[in-house]
């Protein structure tokens, strides 16, 4: 049996083996720029950014039992604000990034206020509709957002210009927020989200204000989506309504499902699978969305528990 490393450290409860695996994964990820082409390093950067987005969706879907179709919009609001702040407004990257995350958090809390009293398909549809409103605003508010044409800005500072340097910066950021999300879902508060997923009526009878907990959970998840959106602004130096569009939310959800709902880190595996697939497919056909749909159906049929979930099931079967 693996023993917890230490009861009181910030790694509380992480087994020695899990720590070693996490360390190895980060080391391998850090070495990737030495073996990949610069184009591939760009893809790997994208995987990290969208992995963080998918993880933020998993906080709600996998732990609170609520799948949001509005997280693409929350993510994109941060991208918009960072591009606008560093471009049009001429602010520093740090300030712009902070404002971006703040804006995403604010939007998430508004979504949360409206959505926390719903669940199931109603939650899905309500978050979808709220995301569409954000998309509509970004499209129509031409003076600020640039409308359909979007906005360009040199968001990324000079030292992060090379593909590998930026990749390492994003990797560092991804490791930090992944760790934070891992702590969050395992915290006493994270446990209350899992309790709500399993039985809302029991939670209420135990003294929990269920909507309040969902509100906090949604808002915190929005902070992480905002971080991903800010990184995406640095990656792209450009933002347009497609960044806040429904397709963005759907892609995030599909990455989360492909990796495995409730596996948290599976989000990176799902993001890698979808982004690699997108790049292979796009050299053959224009119909990426159709391929995405078919992929989704295949996943639901053959591995509804996701890639990581499937692997876990197989290894635990072997262990028996």
């Amino acid at each position: 049996m693996t023993q917890p490393v230490s009861k009181n450290s910030i790694l509380a409860g992480m087994t020695g083996r899990a720590l070693v695996i996490a360390g190895l994964v980060v080391i391998v990820a850090a070495c990737l720029p030495m073996v990949l082409s610069s184009y591939q390093v760009g893809l790997a950067t994208e995987v990290l950014i969208f992995g963080v987005l998918a993880m933020s969706i998993d906080i709600l879907a996998g732990f609170a039992g609520r799948t949001s179709l509005g997280h693409g919009a929350i993510f994109g609001v941060s991208t918009y604000v960072v591009v606008y702040a560093t471009g049009q407004a001429g602010l520093s990257l740090w300030t712009g990034f902070a404002l971006g995350v703040l804006a995403a958090t604010a939007v998430a809390s508004v979504f949360a206020l409206l959505a926390v009293r719903t669940s199931g398909v109603y939650f899905l549809l309500l978050t979808l509709a709220l995301g569409m409103i954000v998309w509509g605003v970004c499209l129509r508010w031409t003076q600020v957002t640039g409308g359909e044409n979007g906005m360009r800005a040199d968001v990324r500072p000079a030292i992060l210009m090379s593909h590998s340097a930026f990749y390492w910066a994003v990797l560092t950021g991804a490791v930090i927020v992944s760790f934070a999300m891992w702590r969050f879902v395992r915290s006493p508060f994270g446990l209350t989200l899992r309790g709500i997923r399993d039985s809302e009526s029991r939670m209420r009878s135990l003294g929990y204000n269920v909507p309040l907990h969902l509100f906090i959970g949604f808002t915190v998840s929005g902070i992480f989506a905002g971080v991903a959106g800010g990184l995406y602004a640095m990656f792209n130096n450009f933002v347009s309504p497609s960044t806040v569009a429904l397709a963005q939310s759907v892609e995030g959800v599909l990455m989360m499902i492909a990796g495995g709902v409730g596996t948290l880190f599976g989000a990176f595996v799902g993001a890698a699978a979808i982004i690699v697939l997108e790049n292979i497919v796009s050299s053959y056909t224009e119909r990426w969305l159709m391929v995405l749909g078919i992929t989704f159906v295949l996943i639901m049929i053959f591995a509804p528990e996701g890639i990581i979930g499937k692997l876990r099931a197989i290894t635990s079967r072997k262990a028996r």
Binding site: A180, S187, F189, G190, L191, S201, R202, R204, V220
Partner: protein, 251 residues
């Protein structure tokens, strides 16, 4: 005489045209063991839902421990000391017993808002969880996932969860329903050894089980209180026999 812990005045719960609870008035003194009996559909569970807040009364007043709780949401009533179990097992099936107990324990504590804190119980929590599991006779099962427990153990966990919050009043809705005779007598033992300071209201179909555990019995029928008396008299009560056994046929 101290004020009764629970007073219901003319409580009605209506589902559209159906009055599941129809003008019930009831007084429960502090520390009493009370049974609520009655045939299927008498409104017993609905009455619990009205008291615990899961389904607030359509009309009438509920006072608990000096507070008017008639309109409070369930989590506020839990904060005042009302704890309950469910007739249909209502646990957190994908979580471990330990996590179920932790959720129960922290429902009334600010620690539930610790966003990045350690998941482990502190020493005080560990002691209280162990004591409640012990009282429900499932000590040593803390690590198991709830959905992998037997039905009987899940019923015991129902009680442990309701107990660990150190409630002032405990509402038990058919805690022994669906259990084998030996499991039933074990549940009876658990109830009998509860802290005498806790007021306990017990819904139970099985008279043999219920009457051995309580000081006073309320029999409900068609949403109304039919009879209230001590357990000794209830078996011989003609009205109770009638609703339980059907109208006596004339020979």
């Amino acid at each position: 005489m101290s004020e009764p812990i629970l007073t219901l005045s003319d409580v009605t719960v209506a589902f559209d045209a159906l009055k599941a609870v129809d003008g019930v008035s009831l007084t429960v003194p502090r520390g009493q063991r009370r049974a609520i009996i009655g045939p299927n559909g008498a409104g017993k569970t609905t009455l619990f839902n009205a008291i615990a807040g899961a389904h607030p009364p359509t009309s009438g007043k509920i006072r608990f421990n000096g507070h008017d709780v008639s309109r409070l949401p369930p989590h506020r009533r839990a904060q005042l000391g009302i704890s309950r179990t469910f007739q249909i097992t209502n646990l957190f099936p994908t979580l471990s017993v330990q996590d179920n107990m932790m959720l129960a324990l922290r429902g009334l504590k600010p620690k539930k808002f610790s966003l990045f804190g350690s998941p482990d119980p502190d020493d005080n929590e560990a002691v209280r969880i162990a004591a409640a599991l012990n009282a429900a006779r499932i000590a040593g099962r803390a690590e198991i996932i709830v959905k992998e427990m037997s039905y009987g153990e899940q019923r015991q966990l129902e009680i442990a969860i309701a107990l660990v919050t150190t409630p002032t009043m405990l509402l038990l809705d058919e805690p022994a329903a669906g259990l084998s005779p030996s499991e039933r007598s074990m549940i009876a033992e658990v109830i009998r050894s509860l802290d005498p300071a806790i007021t306990v209201i017990l819904i139970e179909h099985d008279m043999d089980l219920a009457l051995g555990l309580v000081d006073y019995v309320t029999c409900m029928f068609e949403g109304r209180v039919l009879v209230e008396e001590p357990p000794e008299g209830i078996r011989r009560n003609a009205k109770v026999r009638e609703v339980y056994l059907g109208k006596p046929r004339h020979a």
